[in-house]
Symmetry: C2
Subunit: 271 residues, 2 copies
Amino acid sequence: MDNRQIGIFDSGVGGLTVTAAIAKLLPHEHLVYLGDTARLPYGTKSAETVSRYAVQATHALMRFDVKLIVVACNTASAVALPVLTAALSPVPVIGVVEPGARAAIDATRNGRIAVIATEGTVRGGAYVRAIHALKADAKVEQKACPLFVALAEEGWTEGDVPESAARRYLSDMFAQQNAPDTLVLGCTHFPLLAKAIAKAAGGGVTLVDSAETTAREVARLLDEHGLQRKGPAERALFLATDAAERFARVGSQFLGNAIAPDQVELIDLAP
Amino acid sequence: MDNRQIGIFDSGVGGLTVTAAIAKLLPHEHLVYLGDTARLPYGTKSAETVSRYAVQATHALMRFDVKLIVVACNTASAVALPVLTAALSPVPVIGVVEPGARAAIDATRNGRIAVIATEGTVRGGAYVRAIHALKADAKVEQKACPLFVALAEEGWTEGDVPESAARRYLSDMFAQQNAPDTLVLGCTHFPLLAKAIAKAAGGGVTLVDSAETTAREVARLLDEHGLQRKGPAERALFLATDAAERFARVGSQFLGNAIAPDQVELIDLAP
């Protein structure tokens, strides 16, 4: 038993979809979330910059005496996980890429998997490596879909605009012969657009969202190390590096629960 | 006569639309452009953060011994121009808001002006103030259109997606009685979407783009102070704070001319 908090880190509000899955599966855990809103988006930045920012941000979370850190940002998971694991040791670090890859392998029947993500995640190729590590003969196709991030942030999750964007990004990929039967939502913003994405991908395609599989990985790790919290549920704390009001407003959509403005604290990550 | 460079600053690649207008009007001027790509977008950040970043970025431009600085970023022009003017004195500083407001006043016949911009520019209200300073009885409506930024960056400037986005943002505003007859593109990304925006606004609406009026203001100021360059044209220099390759690739669309990868230099703005 360990009553310390679980730290969750993302470049902005996207990781709140992962936070929602963790809160649902592990309602007794006390969560502290940091969104590096002053420096988002990470998806268009170089690997070096993302690594530097991610180390600063997770160090700030360590001040909350956390027992586990979840990197709920695909870009940071994809390019900075080894650096973060070393920097935060002995606190265990979980990314979202490996759980997403595992879920894709479990879901596919024809061995063909599509991954959609930000430019940074696609360029880094982490999903391709993680999937091949689990199943060497899987066929993996990637596609950067940066506009989905803006659509989710704008709250335009249904209707003409997300549907035509999804068609433009995905129809070629799923119109081909031997198309993938599994589509990994490799960015924490994308689950909000799941309906439009599923419509563009077509009937037989399974969407894989790393939020739930990451939550299960957190549960497994707490169990393995005897780190579960036994205390009563406590209200999560949210930290943002800029624009706390916007964080509460836009973030509520991602969390699926209202975030009160006084639940968000501004912090400064300047080194 | 003054052969020093003109410094142009933006949060990213958007200010290259202004740069293109300056290069066209003043082909002999030597231009140095800084895009703060590591910290974009400015449009969702607080006024304090934008001011701090803009001062750091323009100080970096001052090292190039510039004779004039153009703040080719609506958000920074809207919230940080007084701070920048004080910080860079005696080098003159030109923003894009005042020229855009002046062009709108010249264009409107019914005195009703719509302004579309980022969230930060809209929240700051600088266009409303600048328009009212020139014409106190003008009716001004604002609308934040953040998705247009993502569309321009993605290069999706024509077709279904930008057209349905423009309809979703603008149709209510222009369907009303006594609708605005003039629409200010209050973000340097938006001129790339002019066709889709004009279609959504409808026939009788004049689009105002501050790029050309800002270029004319630069020409006027050089003339007034006798600062024109007489030397032969030189290739512009581009500075970016991150992801130089992406800057060259995406920026070429905004500039309307290819930017060679070796024309972009990475710089660090850490204080």
